[in-house]
Amino acid sequence: MAITRRQFVTRLGALAAAAGLGQSQLLKITEAMGYGPFSPKPKVLWVHGAECTGCSTSLLSLYEDATGLAVEDTRLTAMIDPAGVSTLDALGLLGTGGTAVPRTLVDEGYNVDTSPLVVNIADVLIDVIDLQYHETVMGAGGDLAYQKLAAEMAYVPTGPLDDPFVLVVEGSVQVHEDGGAWGKDGIETSAPWCAVGMNEAGTEEARFDDVVRDLAARADCLAVVSIGQCASFGGYPACVSPAAEFGGMSQTPAYGVYDFLASHSGLGNAEDVANKVINVPGCPTNPWWFVLTVVLYLADLINGPLASGLTADGPLGILNADTTIKGGVDGQRRLKAVYGIPIHGPACPRYKYSFSAPGRPALYASKPGDEGCLALIGCKGLSTNSLCSMHGWNNQQPHNDGLPGEDIATIQGNFSGGFCVTAGHPCMGCTEKGYPDAYVPFINKR
């Protein structure tokens, strides 16, 4: 199974090429997933707090075609790496005669997607990660699940390599000593905090803020991945009604995971623990952004700091030897490779309307349903960074290889959706810190 996992990850790497990584870097990714202490697969604990499960729901729809179809016809491919299939070939993925190397489900004859080069969520669950806890997917429930979580929380590791795992947090963290807008600070029983499990006797209850603190603080917690807007920045639970009566406070004391660990966890080494956080925001997060971020981050962490005993920087330039952030990450703790490009740009099918071209004036939509750039009805694409307009959603590319001056017919030639703007809806800014409050109204409706 280890070999097939390496092949799988290498396929991910081929896609990472489209995000600007060179082949030598890709090989590091392969090595990372073969990392000894992660035997046989990287262990993942996934916990849910003040959230809606939208990011898990989104991730369940993961679908990528490693032959490059996922990024075909994107300007990004053309600009950075025209390799496509040849990249796969160079990595030995196509085998002799262009035959792909199979994975576990394929070996068993149960590949439900048409191509063995397709990556879907079943592959991830079976071949790639060791998902030890996830309330929505796991078989256990009730006391059986609670005991599992409690044991992980209470475990005292001997060091970073004892039982290494990645903590994924979905949802914001409500601090149970705090009261939010309802002013019941300090009264533990009054604050609207989130509880995530009890033992059978009902004598122990897991509070979500304790869960995140205890797991993140474990020495062998190698990374804390905040999936979604809520875990990254607080999101909806942390948003503030403009009504004066709430005094500018959120309804519940909800924080993003980084803020919580750094400023509200009470940990003596709060800064060190918070530094494990990498954000993958979105509302919801696109499955591909998540996979790309996790793979790149872990590859850097393992190949550099961990493999060298904290003496060498990560080879992808993300982490310093002491696992602090070195580069490749922006001020919002997002990977630049994933969140480095504004939506309003040549990749957006409506971008060309924002300026005039010979024989054609600029065209701006004045109400929903209009043709044209959506900037005047509330599009936040100028200040929003994500791969939306390049990579798209739901296996649909915005088909963004149209050149300025081409009409919408050429651009939408595959009759797909792809992201908000292709559906005629302004970008809402869901990958940015400050969403939703700083990005409303979402539509200037007329």
Binding site: D130, G141, D143, L144, A145, S190, S250, P368, S416
Partner: protein, 641 residues
Amino acid sequence: MAFVEVDPISRIEGHLGVKLDVNGGFVDEADTHGNLWRGFENFLIGREPNDAITFTQRICGVCPVPHGMTSTYAIDSVLGYSTGHITFSDVDADGKGVPAKAVHVRNMVLGAEFLMSHMTHFYHLAAPSYVQGPNMAPWTPYFDDSYYHPLLRSNGAALPGGPGGPLWDAVIVQYVKALRMRRLTFEAGALFAGRMPMTSALVSGGVTTQDSSVFFVEKCKKFYNILVEVGKFIVKEHVPLVLALGALYPAYDNAANAAVAHSVDLKFGLSTPFDPAETGIGAGLGNFLAWGGFPDPATNVLAIAGGYKLSGGAATLFCTGKSDVAGAITAVGANLVEDTARSRYVAATDWGYNGTDSWAKPSAVTRTEPSRDDANKYSWLKAPRWKVGASYYAMEVGPFARMVVNGFYKVDGTALASTFNIAGLHGYLDYVNIDALDTRCVDAGLAGVLAGLGLATVEANGYGGIIYVWVTSLAGGLSIMDRLRARALEALVLVQLLIGGYNKVTDTFGTVGTVEGITNVPTAGWVGAAAAVAGGASYISKPVPLTTKSGYGATEAPRGALAHFVTIASGKISAYQCVVPTTWNASPKDGMGGLRGDALNGRGAMEQAMVGSPYAGGATPGVEALRVAQSFDPCIACAVH
């Protein structure tokens, strides 16, 4: 008497637990408690009306489309596109309504979401409580072997083809396959919605998707082609498997079906001789409520009517379309209340709650104030109730409720074949004509194994046998299996409504023809009707009124009846209340149980369904409670919001 907690209830959306009072191995009382409050109703205050459509989708990431749709209906009502409840098309030129094309897009996106939700619920959320998962995380640790039917144990297998056995193998393969199917439904919906799960095409006044007629027709074609694959899976694999499951867990089926199962040697979980008291686990209240949904843009008739049915009584329909929507609005205004006697909220008159008995009409509530201090309050869910006569009743909502209220599914032991028969569509018996059962599941799998055990009576056609006998004689009743069956049968109906009726002979859905010069375009079902109006507008502009206006939207979500109540003042939201499917189903007790003079003690639907169910305990306790809870497909982020 001993109190036990089952928390977390896993494989649902959100944070739910239940406190059970167990006596002699059975549950005497149940308190279901939702464990997370975020304050959506409050932080919507002061915002632009249309932003509620985006905000409320974040109430739940599993069912964002229904929230967006209901919110759209609610905002439509205060902006003058409708009189309330549901927005119909503007065909009758009375100044209300949105373009037919917009109604089509709304229905198709919501319909795709329903199919996603129903398949995900069965395969990925509920089934692992009946089918032991593969022997690897995240499916381990699993419950003790004794909880699973012997044919549905993994026997240590991590993948199909090992010691799991043919039926287990077949189900695990379907689990993986269903991941593809649920993904495809998203891809279909996203054609019009921009992306799924959180959509971005909904706007009061229509939809933002405005393609030229050619592109719209092409998208309809693509939508159809995707859903044909999904539809075949539903028809040939999903529905048969759900129908067959009760045969292996007869205690979780109604007494009539369990008796048949027992008579053909399907006795797992039952004693000999047959004892009906051992059956019908999870029966629940027997009270059902639906708001209705899916308006036909041409006729303004709802595909699913709204109405209610009390236990033992007849169904009353109050919303079948635009013709009687005024009556529905009156009924909802008069009969829908929420109670907070056991819910962690302050009930004060100046918050809209009307005094001592803590009932309130959602349209009158302006703020939701949390309170964790009162020991009598145990859940973040409110307790919605429906008034019939002089009494307020807890109700069950969801696919089961919709099927029962609409008369397709009787709960009194009537043969399902006699009622599950919707004009123009195939009923379930067409698909248990064994050809339709996945051969791995029944031929080589279940029937073969049963034959090997000396249990099957293989019929002349070489298939089916014992399960065939059981499935074809299915009766409707009250149980967990009835709830699961109704959900699968609704998917069977809905996919045929979307893309046209299934033809067993040609293995196709609906019909195709040439539209706008494009060949093989669907011409039947909702998608066909949509393609026929491809050239229409998708949005009508209306200004936001500056006067104070109240309205509401109500429709069906995959999990049941969903309503949003909104008041706007000076162009901003001044009150917003959501009454959500799981708020009904996982409702805590109300404050008037004793006054009603019944024995229900004020319980919500799920609480009632747990009372009387077994609790075996042991080293891996709580699976029975999980099964009851999961059968409702609960969504707690929705329920509490």
